[in-house]
């Protein structure tokens, strides 16, 4: 009997066993779906709640001044997409001591106190200042809050805040009041410009006069006002480059999650499929198979075929689920998607076969697989975008040689940049994956012959 027919018979047997084993089914299908869902939500949430913009930070506010102006300022803070202001307007107001304790206890990282007598436009040196209680270790929140606070204060002052700051600096630099007054004339026109960009009422009027956007493009960008302001101050010609076919509802984070969790969970699942080889050895069925009139390598190829079939089924289910859940436009280019899936399934299955053929026992195999997969997933960018990580050079090189990195590169290229197979970046990603598949499968055959085919 030829090797292919044997491999198919063995794969068919393993498929039957697999689909009757509820535990294996749960691990193989439900866990990846759960991972995609949870990571999708997490990634979307930490990056600004679906708009693909800045993340949000919680800021406790105590308004001791309780004037019309400070109440308006707090309302402005509440409108910021980057800030989650606590307590809610309906909740009992907190005191300065309350929020100080909250920061000390770690209940929040930042708390803002607006002292009595505070006015946002009052630049007198003895005027009360805002007080920020903060945990100095929470740098990320600090930066988000600084931007949100600056944006809100600037808007609330109708743009005058920047001039007040500039005037103070100019006086400190030694300019006379007359000289400062001369500068104020052109500065006022800039103030108007800033006000135009930051005044939300004005924004609404502008929006009303413009044609209605299509539903897909109704994505709010909390940085838009700030970016417009900045772009008018810096000599910069803004040229956004976006593939025209990218669905407007796709977020980078959702595409990252679907691709990342698919790549990682497929590695786990296919390594699990391959470990059937070890289970068969431990159970004794492998001994019976080896005594049959079939080439021993056909057992290895049978497991490979089984893993590949399960991988393709699993990834298909995951992608359909991911598409329904996150609308990432997976099926826009079926050919590219199919080639990417087959390439990654081949690489991941080969990895599983290597672990199974090189390990002495399933305990050893499982342990080894878990460590290697988690490292490859993290360094390959399956969990979080690598752009967010500042890796040392050695890890950066390691990351770029991981097969997970190239699988992510391929899937992200298709999902986010809308690339197809004619693109050289995609071809390189595929070449790396097939290279890995060949190397790993060759090693798997070597170890299989060494560990399974010798006396």
């Amino acid at each position: 009997m030829n090797t292919l027919r044997c491999a198919w018979l063995l794969a068919k047997k393993d498929l039957r066993c697999y689909f009757r084993d509820r535990g294996a089914m749960a691990v193989g299908f439900l866990v990846p779906i759960a991972l995609v869902t949870v990571f999708g939500w997490i990634m979307t949430a930490i990056s600004g709640g679906g708009g693909g913009g800045m993340p949000q930070a919680t800021l406790y506010v105590v308004d001791e001044a309780a004037s019309d102006e400070t109440r308006a300022f707090v309302e402005r803070l509440r409108k910021s997409n980057m800030l989650k202001i606590e307590p809610k307007p309906t909740a009992k107001p907190l005191t300065r001591a309350d929020v100080e304790k909250k920061v000390a206890d770690g209940d929040t990282s930042h708390a803002l106190v607006i002292p009595s007598g505070f006015a946002i436009t009052n630049t007198a040196t003895d005027a009360p200042k805002l007080i920020m209680f903060r945990d100095p270790g929470r740098k990320m929140e600090q930066q988000i809050i600084q931007i949100g606070l600056f944006q809100s204060a600037l808007a609330e002052s109708n743009g005058t805040l920047w001039w007040n700051g500039l005037r103070k600096s100019l006086v400190e630099a030694g300019l006379t009041n007359e000289e400062v007054a001369q500068i104020q004339v052109p500065a006022n026109s800039m103030t108007d410009l800033i006000g135009q960009f930051l005044d939300t009422e004005n924004d609404k009027k502008l929006e009303a006069s413009e044609p209605k956007p299509t539903p897909d493009s109704e994505i709010e960008d909390p940085m838009a006002g700030m970016m417009s302001f900045m772009l008018n101050m810096v000599p910069l010609d803004d040229k956004p480059i976006e593939p025209p076919s990218r669905p407007r509802r796709v977020t980078y984070q959702a595409a990252q999650s679907v691709a990342g969790m698919t790549v990682m969970s497929l590695l786990f699942a296919l390594t699990g499929c391959a470990s059937v080889l070890l289970a068969e050895r431990e159970k004794g069925t492998l001994r019976r198979l080896f005594a049959m009139s079939i080439p021993r390598e056909s057992v290895l190829f049978g497991k490979l075929l089984f893993a590949v079939i399960i991988g393709i089924i699993q990834v298909s289910i995951l992608f359909v689920y991911g598409e329904l859940m996150f609308k990432v436009g997976l099926f826009r280019d079926p050919l590219t998607l199919s080639v990417l899936v087959i390439s990654w399934v081949a690489a991941a299955s080969s990895f599983g076969m290597l672990i199974a053929s090189a390990s002495r026992s399933s305990t050893q195999g499982d342990g080894l697989a878990q460590v290697v997969i988690l490292v490859m997933a993290a360094l390959g960018g399956c969990w979080f975008p690598l752009q967010m990580m500042k890796l040392p050079v050695i890890l950066d090189i390691a990351s770029k040689s991981m097969m997970t990195y190239w699988a992510m590169s391929g899937f992200q290229g298709m999902l986010w940049n809308q690339l197809d197979l004619t693109n050289s970046k995609m071809q390189i990603a595929l070449a790396w994956q097939w290279g890995w598949a060949l190397v790993l499968m060759s090693l798997a055959i070597y170890f299989f012959r060494r560990n399974y085919c010798r006396d």
């Binding site: 009997m1 044997c6 018979l9 063995l10 068919k12 047997k13 039957r16 066993c17 697999y18 009757r20 084993d21 159970k283 004794g284 069925t285 001994r287 019976r288 198979l289 080896f290 005594a291 049959m292 009139s293 079939i294 080439p295 006396d455």
Partner: protein
């Protein structure tokens, strides 16, 4: 005049196997006649399982020669030679998430059976194993005895001329053991030759036409239970006493 080995189904000559520098099987000779129930009796570590592994093709680095029906026999190198052999391992080498029919289908298919021939072979083995009524149930729902019977049936699915059974009754309850013995006697009656290893002397006495007593990798005596007793000078003794006389140790001590 033809000698016994000339008409043997399996003729093993000077079989030796080194395991980590130690002779696990030490130049043993034996032959099994067609339709014979031949037993290898010995304690754990005597070399019985290694002998079975050499004959079945699981081990390849052995020395010596084997002939099958007079022709050179090398199952570790020639896959077609394995077609003549069925192996029933000590472990339950069956798939618990498959039904009995599916198990037989898988192993039969791997032996090259297909279509109507495979279905007939499956039906026959299910009948012999007494599993026809439970053929469509998953093996994981079977009792230990039923699993043992299926384990045997999977080794017989391709109707081999020689069946190798490596201590098939270890951990089996008396009722299932009796059923297994009856099945073995039935397949022997149908002309199948059996090579059976055990360290239970009552099994060897009850089942085997001839017995080879193994000790320290060697076959120290061959013959029927009665012949062995006579040749060892203990005509009225059982195999345990014969073994004690031949080796100076009891089966349990060795």
């Amino acid at each position: 005049m033809t000698s016994m080995s000339d008409k043997a189904l399996l003729d093993v000559r000077a079989l030796a196997y080194d395991y980590h520098g130690k002779l696990a099987v030490d130049h043993i000779n034996f032959s099994i006649q067609p339709g014979e129930f031949f037993g290898l009796l010995g304690p754990n570590g005597a070399g019985k399982s290694t002998t079975i592994a050499c004959v079945s093709g699981l081990l390849s680095r052995f020395r010596g020669d084997m002939l099958f029906a007079g022709r050179p026999f090398s199952p570790s190198k020639n896959l077609s030679d394995r077609q003549h052999i069925g192996i029933v391992p000590q472990d339950l080498a069956i798939y618990e998430h498959l039904t009995a029919r599916e198990n037989l289908q898988t192993f039969g298919g791997l032996f090259g059976l297909g279509g109507k021939k495979l279905q007939q072979a499956i039906d026959r083995q299910l009948e012999i194993a007494g599993l026809t009524d439970r053929a469509k149930d998953l093996v994981k729902t079977y009792s230990g005895g039923m699993k043992r019977r299926l384990n045997l049936a999977c080794g017989l699915i391709h109707q081999p001329q020689l069946v190798l059974l490596d201590e098939p009754t270890v951990g089996v309850d008396p009722q299932s053991r009796n059923h297994l013995f009856e099945s073995l006697k039935q397949i022997q009656a149908e002309g199948t030759t059996i090579l059976y290893t055990t360290h239970y002397m009552e099994e060897a006495e009850r089942l085997c036409d001839r017995i080879g007593i193994m000790h320290g990798g060697k076959i120290i005596a061959i013959g029927s239970a009665k012949q062995l007793a006579i040749e060892s000078g203990l005509p009225n003794s059982n195999l345990e006493e014969v073994f004690l006389k031949l080796t100076g140790r009891s089966l349990q001590d060795s």
